[in-house]
Symmetry: C2
């Protein structure tokens, strides 16, 4: 974080920030990204628009950081000692109900991002890249422990496999992703492809 | 096809049907699904709205069948003698330029489908299910040749893996899916997960 950003951030307490993020996600569920306005966020949270813009720069960053903040547990908080354990811990980060809600939000946002360069940039920077960094750490520990080989050709595709599980689940099975589904997918697809 | 459907279909020649489908896809690229109207299709193609509704029932069916018609080669047309050959033939059905165009259309449609039960139903019936049927035939031939085991736990997830490759490619790599990418993914992920 730059000094300027640190100064900007210091204006809100963590509690107030969490409150704002919750309100943003409520609005996002109610009206979707395109119809969500900074005015509506300001009204709902009794914050000034100046504060919102000073803190977040704009709608794209505010919405994406709200979703990021909402993730209950970071990948890097989990180090179970095995690759399979780390993958299952990833699936266990959210209960099924929350996973259904969040996957609907993420899907809506990913859709909106295709027509909106600001949102796509924020989405990648704050939601995709951090997950990929964390995933790389999980894989590196697997390599260090000798569970998988660094030169396995499936290594660059782990994120694709995982996103596929989420994206295809609704379309093919007309079901939300659940922990049971992700467990089965990890054991049947991800670990075998990695030769683990 | 039911007798009633056969009578309906007989009203248009295959050439005229192809012409209508092309116009529908042009409109879909120009304005997207939500803004596309049967009026616009009728104007663009100099067809009567009565004809369009008689032939296709509604917008969802018309759009989905236009996309289905546009697919250059059916999976079942390909029987190369090996599982890998069949998968690579799938990837080779479209050149990279067409794959980029179509994947943008499919993504747009999949997005619109989440808020539109008619479209979701048509999308699944005419685009997802036929692909899954064809994929099942490819896999069954692989089982019959002894290349893969019918009870391999990855069998129910092949479509998820493939959809993941398409869906994640844009989001992670900011690139359209290409044949080279799909070849690498098939060799690194799909075949190893299937134990082939």
């Amino acid at each position: 974080m730059t000094e300027a950003a640190a100064v900007r951030r210091s204006r809100l307490t963590p509690e107030r920030e969490a409150e704002l993020y919750t309100a943003v996600l409520d609005l996002l569920r109610e009206v979707g990204y395109d119809a969500l306005t900074m005015d509506a966020v300001a009204t709902r949270t009794r914050a000034s628009k100046a504060t919102l813009y000073r803190q977040w720069g704009g709608k794209a960053e505010l919405v994406v950081k709200a979703l990021r903040h909402h993730k209950p547990l970071k990948f890097s908080d989990v180090d179970t000692g095995t690759l399979r354990g780390d993958f299952l811990a990833l699936a266990a980060r959210q209960d099924d109900c929350r996973m259904e809600q969040d996957s609907a939000l993420m899907r809506g946002l990913a859709m909106a991002a295709h027509g909106n360069p600001d949102l796509l940039k924020a989405f990648r920077e704050w939601l995709v890249e951090p997950e990929m960094d964390e995933l790389r750490r999980v894989l590196r520990r697997g390599v260090d422990r000798g569970e998988i080989r660094a030169d396995n050709p499936a290594m660059p595709f782990v994120m694709h496999m995982l996103i596929g599980a989420f994206a295809a689940r609704t379309m093919i099975d007309e079901l939300p992703p659940t922990q049971a589904f992700l467990h089965a997918y990890i054991d049947a697809v991800v670990l075998p492809a990695l030769g683990a």
